[in-house]
Symmetry: C2
Subunit: 481 residues, 2 copies
Amino acid sequence: MVIDKKSNTPLYIQVYENFRDKIEKKELKEGEKLPSIRSLAKKIDVNNITIVNAYKLLEQEGYVYSVKGSGTYVRKSNYDIDMPFVDGGDIELMAGGVIPLSKDSINFASVSPTPEIFPIEEFKQALMEVLDRDKGNAFLYPEINGYKPFRESISHFLQENYNMDVAIDQIQVISGGQQGLDIITKALISQGDCIFVENPTYSGAIAAFQSRGAKIIGIPMLKDGLDLEILHKHIKRYRPKFLYMMTNYQNPTTYSYSPEVKEEVIKLSRRHDFYIIEDDFLTDLNYDENKKEPLKSMDHMDQVIYIKSFSKIFMPGVRIGFMTVPKKLFKDIIKIKHTTDISSSGFLQRAFDLYLRKGYWKEHIENIKKVYTKKYNTMVRELERLKRYGVKLYKPNGGLSLWIKLPKDIDSIELYNECGENDVVIVPGKVFFIDDSIYSNYIRLSFGAVSEEEIKKGIEIIENCIRKRYKEEDNRFIPFV
Amino acid sequence: MVIDKKSNTPLYIQVYENFRDKIEKKELKEGEKLPSIRSLAKKIDVNNITIVNAYKLLEQEGYVYSVKGSGTYVRKSNYDIDMPFVDGGDIELMAGGVIPLSKDSINFASVSPTPEIFPIEEFKQALMEVLDRDKGNAFLYPEINGYKPFRESISHFLQENYNMDVAIDQIQVISGGQQGLDIITKALISQGDCIFVENPTYSGAIAAFQSRGAKIIGIPMLKDGLDLEILHKHIKRYRPKFLYMMTNYQNPTTYSYSPEVKEEVIKLSRRHDFYIIEDDFLTDLNYDENKKEPLKSMDHMDQVIYIKSFSKIFMPGVRIGFMTVPKKLFKDIIKIKHTTDISSSGFLQRAFDLYLRKGYWKEHIENIKKVYTKKYNTMVRELERLKRYGVKLYKPNGGLSLWIKLPKDIDSIELYNECGENDVVIVPGKVFFIDDSIYSNYIRLSFGAVSEEEIKKGIEIIENCIRKRYKEEDNRFIPFV
């Protein structure tokens, strides 16, 4: 280790950087032990306190963890930023710890659609028309809350698709759903505030809420929605600022709320005066006759902040979505949006507006539903085979993922690693749980980015990995019914 | 005041909301005194501490300020969101208090360019080519840090325009300069951290830094840069996390840093280990031979985080800019960008990339400089007349604004109001100062959004407003030289 005692950089920073680089270059691997404070201090001839501070910093930055009386060890690595590409789905995978995707790997991790189903022609036409119609005005700053005609289209869109009544003054255009979470975090969370989330849930939301020091409480997710008993208990105890939920085809469980649970949750939010953040990115993708509705449709007291993302049902790269804003919060949200990025691209807002006004939407949704229904059915058909190994499968009849429970004996991280070595990428359930020490035996398989052929080939590989373990553990293995 | 003691909303919140609404509805005006704690507590029959907490919250939220031994007073109002339109320039005006802009008012408040000078044809061509070349891929998620070929173009752009050496791995694409400030705030500021800003400075930056509870120290801005004496003193005292500065044609003073002051600031940041956030949005607009260079060009120790906005020199509605990231911060910034909005629009990144590769940039800058030089000269010529009323004018020979000092006797807010009544919108200097109690006699006149004719007409109106006051106060008025 090279330490420059003449440098302006404090010694403990230099020591910190030395270890950080070794860990990032994987010269020091997960679980490896760092030298003891005394021995290292002696070796490079510095004060013990220098090493103590360096190790402290490494721990703060999440590179190491210390075990009382034993020593300091290297943590599992953070996001690997050298991934070939990254999207809202894959980041969860990255957080999980990570084999980079190779070009020809089968990616069951991404919930994002693939370019073939993008309505490029229609959207291109809209883009062109906007340029011809608005000329340079298309590139001025739009209003902070969004280009007004676009907000009109959105209000109409909500009425038509979910019979939802939202005035254009209560619509805030955002640069994708994640920005909605960022803005809400800034508007509602101060250090130490309590908020509720479904457990398991979307890790990108957790990251946003944590960024302002929220105390995050997970409420177990059941097949018909949140566990109301536990919700009741925790509300009294924690007085949450808000509850974050995904009403339909929840991520990762794919469960949808029953009308009864929806009713109850809204009632509670009114009685105990907390907001509900409804993150809706899949409601439109039902593959049976049972069309889902957002919670917001039942909200008559302005309790629900509804965030709509188009990344999974339109095109991720457009980065345009919207949220509904309770009157009480409107002024705050405007200020926060301005401080966050002034406004979302006026050009793309105008194009999206025109796209909606031309009535392309309904047809587009029908098209992608056809494609996804086919993939969904193939997924389910192929996965049925795995039941014989004690694998449990929930059928949401919608959305872009399947949530699978493995027999207790099979650890999802091990399975994830073995699949990875065979160029099949799955998401171990662990990364979605608040308390990641439990629930080691779930996996999420998404079919947004895979073809029919890949589905068949990929699930066969997954099956082999499971069968192997099944054989190995034959004698003590009891498949459960 | 109506207080509901049965409600779930804590009493002090109810009191807070009562005052907040009165202040926002202007029922309580700037400078008005709030009732004393005791009298109010008695009147609505609550604890003193309830009122104390309510007043504290009002102060935190910027609605009031308290004067020791005297009482609590209403502050000047925050953003008024009922403005017909809003941009990065006008928001400062809004913060100032505010007459809405009418269609035919002459707007010296906006620093944004007008559509006539947007390179629409070339950019449209780039947009088209991207759609034909990349098809649906144009609308996939790009990498979090930005579409790689675009980062290559940026690296080349920096080399060519400012002989700045920045590797593509140290470039983070952002959705406009303001997002750069938001990301840095998240990366570097925790509650109570000290940061330095130029005084006066851009109010949008202050809003971002305050959003995470930074303690903001203003360093006076002199004609050749920061007041080094005071900077030295304050560094020892406050140990800042970073210094926020605009090296060339600073907003609002229009001053540019001398090479000497630049050198010294960089030295200090190295010696005392704080970052420099360089916000560059005008460097390219010099109207004499003296081409300016960013501070970043002199940075060999990775001390400077350089934020480049294209809103004022290209098109505001594109919402694409970039920042350079010190190696130490790279992983953090990536995570924060992802949590903020996943990534900036891949489509616009690809189009901007192509636009740069086709070499349109140089010609574009030459074009807008021609237009702006003409406006700048007209501004200066017309404003020369005002000297006879004791008005002092600084000539930056670049940028998009002029910073004007009125005689002490003329208050900028009064002048701003009177001009407003005559459909001329100026920005009172007050809104740029950290301590808004002083410096009442500066105004900023920007010429981004006004035509030659409007400049002449507008300045005549301003002159009349000043002359009137000059006449009125004839006898006691001594114009200073």
